[in-house]
Amino acid sequence: MLQKDLRKSNIFQITEGFVRLFEGLADRLHPETNFGSFVSILLYLILILAVTNRTGEYLVLSIPLLLLIYVSKNSIIDVSQLHVVNDQEIYRVLEGDPVKIKCLIENLGPEIKEMKITKHLPAGLNKLKGVSSLITPLPSQDCCMLEYELSGGCGSYKLGEIEIHIPGFLGLTFKRKTITCDTKVLILPRVASKKGLVLRPHRVRPQTGNNPSRQGGDGIELFGVREYRPGDPLRYINGRASARHPRSLFIQEFERERVTTVYLLVDTQGRTQPKLGENDILHHCLEATSILSESLINSGNRVGLYIFGKFHNWVFPGSGKLQKEKILRALALETGNVSTWNTKLADLPTRFLTPRSLIILLSPIMGTELSMLNSLKGRRYQVLVINPDEIDFQEKKHTTNKAIQLSLRTAHIERKMAIRCLGESSIPVLNWQVDSPFELIASRFLGTYWK
């Protein structure tokens, strides 16, 4: 029984192999492109056979092919007056939401009795539902519509081309027109948190915010008690302290809360393409950046962004909703921003940075930018490194292979050494295991470290 089953499965596998071979051939000999020329070749072969054998019957065999080619060659119409219009120029959605696309095809020329419209989807986007290819007749001055929904990872995608085939007689020959669309799909990272983050910056801006400024003034948190000066509000007089000193008055002072300028530096070194997903550490890194920017802007801070590495981008510091949108768009890693060379942290234009501002570096790679971080620290910038643990992340994926495990252990040691070096330069490092929620860890770390 077992042997019979084995034989059956072998035969099944062989048949499957043959079918796959033929399918591969079919893809190469695509009917829509090669039929006309193929039928012509067949016709010529039959004619040559007829001439060499001097047999009339062969000539008769060629009649259907001759008719087929003649009629199909003379039945193609002009397609130059077809126009494609999308309902939006840029489709902007958050990650996980579907992109609803409507595409209108207008015929300003003569009536088309049959046409095939195919919309080629860009790599990285999947069709959820709807119609992205259509066969339809299209009367003169009329239009038809493609309506479909896409989904994909965060990034910037160009919608690409629409291919229109107008078949001739029996579909043997086609008139083809490719219309290029400049329409973009922007899938921005979804920010889970809307809470504000509290920092302890060295230097603050004059505007009121949420960050304690280490200076006495108006605020909520008690900063200290000092002697009363004329002009101080009487309601803040500290009764107990004043009672101890009969000839003088003391008032309570609160800590001023102000905004600050934060620069988020994102490292995309070693990346070649913006295809992101849950299995990519860069995805987590960008997610963390979006959470940080959202939270910091919600707290009223001015936030700037510098993406370096393969994807180069720079957003000047700012605040408000527009700034959030700018940062999210930059984090979508537009393919237009791919550098021909890998930019490094050393290329950071430090002249543009606000003096003594807070710099947060988000990088999965450790140890490569140590000198630049030290240099920034030396110029009295506040530097903080957030390091998603890529080695731990990779370890969870490759648990079986011994060689990989060994190399991961080595990488672990290297990483620990790099963190120790940063610690010696008094640069705080947040070691983030990407499984744990970033928002929680970041709020704890940023809230406590600076005290």
Binding site: Y58, L61, F169, G171
Partner: protein
């Protein structure tokens, strides 16, 4: 388009060709044609992506072998017509199944079938005429016809 409808021209092609070959006692070609037809029918029923060009080649190859084996030309023409219809319908089914939606599909299918049967009908008629009608042309008429053909071509 119904998948079983595609099997009809394949069966007709096999029937005509095998009958023709068996009439002249050619067993091997008829067996080969039967095997090919079974393969073709299975691929049509299971929607395998076998190139349609392969089917057309085999159809014409069997017709050429038939002429060489001096099979009755009526059977060959009938088999060829059925083969062309089968090949075209298979191709048309693939064309229709390559899109998400077909608007006014009935009109499109009807027009295609009219074109197909028109082509097969006209070509069969011309073939029958060419086999049974003999024209005797003198050289002046031949030159005139060639010139007229060239003039039409140049005008286009």
């Amino acid at each position: 388009m119904n998948r079983h409808f595609l099997l009809l021209p394949i069966i007709l092609y096999t029937m005509f060709m095998v009958t023709g070959f068996l009439q002249v006692k050619q067993v091997t070609p008829s067996l080969l044609i039967t095997v090919f037809a079974i393969f073709w029918a299975i691929s049509a029923a299971r929607c395998w992506k076998i190139p349609a060009t392969l089917m057309l080649v085999v159809v014409f190859l069997s017709a050429i072998i038939g002429v060489q084996a001096q099979v009755d030309f009526g059977w060959i023409m009938a088999g060829l017509a059925a083969g062309i219809i089968g090949w075209d319908l298979e191709r048309f089914r693939r064309y229709l199944s390559s899109v998400d939606q077909i608007k006014s599909s009935e009109v499109i299918i009807k027009r295609h079938l009219i074109q197909l049967f028109g082509l097969v009908g006209i070509s069969t008629l011309i073939s029958v005429l060419s086999l049974h009608v003999t024209l005797q042309l003198n050289m002046y008429l031949v030159i005139f016809l060639i010139c007229a053909f060239l003039l039409i071509k140049i005008e286009r």
